[in-house]
Symmetry: C2
Subunit: 201 residues, 2 copies
Amino acid sequence: MSSTIHFYFDFTSPYGYLAAMRIDQLAAKYAQQVEWHPILLGVIFKTTGTLPLVDVPLKGTYSLHDLKRSARFHAIPFQQPEHFPISTQNTARAMLWIANKLGEDSAIKFAKAAYQAYFVDGINIGEIEHVVQIANRLGFDGDTLANEISSPEIKAQLKAEVDAAQEQGVFGAPFVIIDGEPFWGFDRFDQIEALLKNGQI
Amino acid sequence: MSSTIHFYFDFTSPYGYLAAMRIDQLAAKYAQQVEWHPILLGVIFKTTGTLPLVDVPLKGTYSLHDLKRSARFHAIPFQQPEHFPISTQNTARAMLWIANKLGEDSAIKFAKAAYQAYFVDGINIGEIEHVVQIANRLGFDGDTLANEISSPEIKAQLKAEVDAAQEQGVFGAPFVIIDGEPFWGFDRFDQIEALLKNGQI
């Protein structure tokens, strides 16, 4: 079996962060490739009428507890950021810009660094100055990035990514699609592994 | 470690059914006891403003697919019932009546049989005639049950159960609480097992 693993995530999604810290490792175990797709949950939640998890009574409080516990259970560093949730257009556009200029591997490096800056160091990665710092730290040209990520081309590219995700039925994050088979949530990594291992689920 | 595993479920919850088919087995592995608590999600969802899963655009369609896949993954028989979701007051009241008259073990036998009648055989267990049939099949007195489950005492008992669950922070099903530690979803059985095994999570 050789299939692309399509991985959809929003930079403000904590379960997306947990998934991002594990997906390449899981794919590598079965010699598969991951395509990373930054999306905007804010746009998608308008379609589904979904509230951000933390805004739901009771469920919000539980989720904060569950996140810490789930991170611990999977041995992934995690601190709930003070600014949460945040708008992640700048971060997503920066990732697309890096992919265009420097290729997918650099874009994935940026995505992981941005996620860690947010969910480990508490840095507000929705703000462009922090996006630039992360890019610079990785050796990318943060100043040019800052000038170019608000271009009509990059805006249109992100909009197209979000539209494409919705057409695939993506309604939350993390979301994984392999050969048309959809998986919602970091919880489904056991079933994803079964599919990669056995070629069916 | 010796702790009671509090298991909250609604008879119309398919993930609750999957959990119900596995929780006693998991508890037995670590020599723990399970207390089964029937609840009414309809009442609880009014507090949280939650829609039944299948009524949420996109998420509903996905969930039906995920349920079948999850049942297969865990080797649990499952057929999505035609009547879904259903009102489960009668079923929950019947379980409480059996617990009062015949003890917890009989009540749990009834709960499992009712869940299987619904999610394997497609029987509408919200209807009292089917509740009576299931009770009779188990050797319980279905006719007396039918006469007594709408008594003010049983109604009050179920209301008290639902109120108590909400006070414990239960906002969905299946929900498990062990020594105050809350777990939402069949997805968390791996973390529940870690807690039972290690005494902490």
